[in-house]
């Protein structure tokens, strides 16, 4: 019985297939390389989400800030929520912070222009400007609207998965989705 208890508390050997909980336990025990596996596992979703709402030039910077914040506060992560949910909340905070800093520096008026000048293959200035405009519109939506759009479009979750994640039924989720698209449309029409 005591052995079982001991094994429960001891992290399994480090492997890329280990669950988030096991990797976090390893990290807390001082094996910092466990974070590499967490990073590789969760980067795609974080990156897609950031890329969806942040201008191209700032995507990597904001993504890195999210993981730096994660590594700094991982020691206090209690596991009340799933790591992916925790990271999603952290991502939203950092994106909001990015826009707050920009507003403070009075950069928003410059942002579309500078991003439009970005030399990214296959992107014309007009499409880059459109992208930045749409990203700002998304960021200005109420949080629940923005979230359902990001979960469906950026993270490509199915409606039933979104319903499960947000503790809603499927009908309510689809209704929220339609209201969110309508709010975005209204915002773009302004």
């Amino acid at each position: 019985m005591a052995t079982t208890k001991y094994m429960e508390n001891t992290p399994n050997p480090l492997s890329p297939q280990a669950t988030d909980e096991v990797l976090i336990a390893h990290f807390k025990a001082g094996r910092t390389e466990a974070f590499d596996f967490l990073y590789q596992r969760h980067l795609p979703n974080v990156y897609k989400r950031v890329r969806y709402v942040v201008p191209e030039n700032d995507v990597e910077d904001v993504t890195q800030e999210i993981f730096i914040a994660a590594i700094k506060s991982l020691a206090s992560f209690r596991g009340d929520a799933q790591f992916s949910t925790w990271l999603r909340t952290l991502t939203n905070h950092k994106v909001a912070e990015f826009y707050r800093k920009r507003t403070r520096k009075q950069e928003p008026m410059l942002a579309p222009l500078s991003d439009a000048n970005a030399t990214i293959t296959g992107n014309t200035s007009k499409s880059m400007e459109e992208r930045v405009y749409l990203q700002r519109a998304l960021q200005d939506l109420p949080e629940n609207y923005r979230e359902v759009l990001l979960l469906r479009f950026a993270e490509d979750l199915q409606f039933n998965e979104i319903a499960h994640l947000t503790n809603q039924n499927l009908e309510a989720t689809k209704s929220l989705f339609r209201r969110a698209v309508a709010a975005l449309r209204a915002h773009l029409d302004k």
Binding site: D36, Y39, Q40, L43, P44, Y47, K48, R51, Y52, E60, T63, Q64, F67, I68, I71, S127, E130, R131, L134, Q135, L149, R152, F153, A154, D156, Q158, F159, E171, K174, S175, F177, R178, V181, A182, L184, R185, L188
Partner: protein, 153 residues
């Protein structure tokens, strides 16, 4: 919520699914103007905003850059002003200044009592001198303690 609204919710959700699967690239509801505008918005989102993930090589590069950035940030971490001030190894003048202040305080408090050798009321004078001496000693003690603590660090 009316049945009409539920139908619209389902239609729009289905449309979004098809667009994201690449099975639809133009609006489907030509009859319902409201729904048509929402479908156009979904197509606009899909066409304008990128949804591709970083590939394995980019993931690796980003991890390397993240580690380099963290190392850089650790090295250039801001040291609080008071820690810089009391860092006696790189700032020995502050340590010296503390000692001089301690000696001055001690002198100011003890010299008058030595010169006067007591007051007309010996009991009161002695009590005052003792109090002054204790306060002075206390301040000097605290200063020395601060010096000792920061020197250890």
């Amino acid at each position: 919520m009316s049945q009409h609204d539920i139908n619209k919710d389902n239609q729009l959700a289905e449309f979004a699914d098809k667009v994201l699967q690449g099975k639809m690239n133009q609006p489907a509801s030509s009859s319902d103007l409201d729904l048509l505008r929402l479908e156009e918005t979904i197509l606009h989102l899909k066409q304008t905003l990128p949804t591709d993930s970083p590939d394995a090589a980019k993931t690796k590069q980003m991890l390397v850059r993240l580690k380099a950035r963290m190392k850089r940030e650790e090295e250039t971490a801001e040291v609080p002003f008071w820690k810089k001030l009391f860092d006696f190894q790189s700032n020995p003048q502050v340590g010296m200044l503390l000692v001089i202040v301690a000696v001055l305080i001690l002198a100011v408090i003890t010299v008058p009592s030595l010169e006067l050798g007591g007051s007309s009321n010996p009991t009161t004078g002695t009590a005052n001198n003792n109090t002054n001496f204790l306060i002075g000693g206390g301040i000097v003690g605290v200063l020395l303690l601060v010096y000792w603590i920061f020197r250890r660090k």
